[in-house]
């Protein structure tokens, strides 16, 4: 015999039906009070990766303008574009990691992949980190700024994060300009963190406090 919960409840005696209806009404009210994470912006949206994204992700990763900026999992060289096979392995690695979320950045209208982003918090949700890669053909179109807003709203709105951090290689002037423009504060560097062009380079560290983000949001809404 199969029966849905609804039909089971419909068959309850009247006094129990009243109790069930009251519980359901309370749950609906509670659910209405919860602010759902807003991962849809005006131009882009974020969602988990699917295996059907592999070809599009592979295409994004082939662009030489992303050399050194791919933010791939440990042991995947950021200077070498991955093969299609490695791209699938990267996507699977992202999906398997704990306390970590990698999301596809796509245009809802076309469904096109225009970048990817990740966040993680290790053992401590007080201080998560984020990273972001936008496909070069979409640079300077405001996509990065919109994704950061979605990420911050998600982390500060649905988790207990107090500070969000990110890193940018010291040679990546565009990246440094971007993270500071969206509100991140410079906090130091990992010295000699990477090596290219026959030289070591530092990785710069940045963070953004909850109160700083909220103040930025307030200023933006005041100015709007």
């Amino acid at each position: 015999m199969t029966a849905s919960f609804a039909s089971d409840w419909d068959d309850l005696p009247a006094h129990l039906q009243d109790a069930v209806d009251n519980v359901l009404a309370d749950e609906a009210e509670a659910e209405a009070r919860v602010v759902a994470p807003q991962l849809y912006g005006s131009r882009v949206a974020l969602r988990p990766f699917e295996s059907s994204d592999d070809a599009a992700l592979y295409e994004v990763l082939q662009d030489p303008r992303l050399d050194g900026r791919r933010n791939l999992p440990y042991k995947h060289d950021p200077w070498i574009p991955p093969s299609l096979h490695s791209t699938a392995a990267i996507r699977e690695d992202w999906g398997a990691r704990e306390h970590f979320l990698a999301l596809a950045v796509f245009e809802p209208a076309s469904g096109n992949l225009v970048g990817y982003t990740a966040m993680g918090w290790g053992w401590d949700p007080l201080c998560p980190w984020v990273n972001l890669v936008v496909a070069p053909e979409h640079w300077r179109a405001g996509i990065g700024r919109e994704v950061v807003a979605l990420l911050m709203d998600f982390l500060f709105g649905t988790t207990v994060a107090n500070v969000v951090s990110c890193t940018v290689d010291a040679w990546n002037e565009e990246g440094i300009a971007f993270v500071t423009a969206v509100g991140f504060q410079p906090t130091g560097r990992y010295r000699r963190d990477g090596f290219c062009n026959g030289r070591f380079y530092d990785t710069l560290t940045f963070d953004l406090l909850r109160r700083e983000w909220l103040a930025l949001e307030e200023a933006r809404s005041d100015g709007a």
């Binding site: 030489p64 050399d67 040679w171 990992y190």
Partner: protein
């Protein structure tokens, strides 16, 4: 046997070290600021972790017991992990509070740095601590570490928000004060280039 200093050894862990490691794990003064909480570790838990270690020639971590040469007493541990060969690693340590201020921690860290720079050929060594742990910061600074990054309000201990500090010491910052000559190529000046990096 391990790494020998003037007054201490850094040697491998042994089964008889588990009570010391358990007590350090459960000491809020030494481990209370990190994910090691709560301080309820049992000796079998530590023994299980110890016994799970397997032989490998592809190692990216180590745990040494700090042993006093004079009487063979185990004083604490010192470790490194996330090793990138010939490049960098992260170190950490824990000492029995009875020997704080004795110089053993400094000698142990100095000894480990010597191993990392002169045997493993690393270019930089990192360590994490918190702003409240002034003793750790001062100890590291005496050995050449500097605070290179400060993650603001990212740790919580004793009811207070604090900063997480990244400290690091570069290869020449270890070698030069000790009058040691570096025979590895100075990679900062090496010829050759990769694609695209706008350095």
């Amino acid at each position: 046997m391990g790494l020998e200093g003037a007054t201490i050894w850094l040697r491998e862990q042994r089964a008889e070290d588990m009570p010391l490691l358990q007590s350090l794990r459960n000491d809020m003064r030494t481990q209370g600021y990190n994910k090691a909480l709560p301080p309820d570790y049992t000796e079998p838990m530590l023994r299980g972790r110890f016994e799970e270690r397997r032989f490998s020639l592809d190692r990216d971590d180590a745990v040494f017991i700090i042993e006093r040469k004079a009487d063979g007493r185990a004083l604490g541990f010192i470790a490194y992990g996330n090793l990138e060969p010939r490049h960098n690693t992260m170190v950490g340590m824990g000492m029995d509070q009875e020997v704080w201020g004795s110089g053993a921690a400094r000698e142990a860290l100095d000894l480990l740095l010597g191993f990392l720079f002169l045997e493993l050929g690393l270019r930089v060594v990192h360590m994490w601590t918190i702003s409240e742990n002034v003793r750790a910061v001062k100890l590291a600074e005496k050995l050449g570490f500097v605070i290179s990054s400060r993650k603001r309000e990212s740790c919580y201990k004793g009811g207070k928000l604090g900063d997480t500090l990244l400290m690091d010491v570069l290869r020449e910052e270890y070698l030069d004060p000790r009058g040691l000559t570096d025979t590895l190529p100075k990679l900062e000046d090496a010829p050759g280039s990769m694609r695209n990096p706008p350095l």
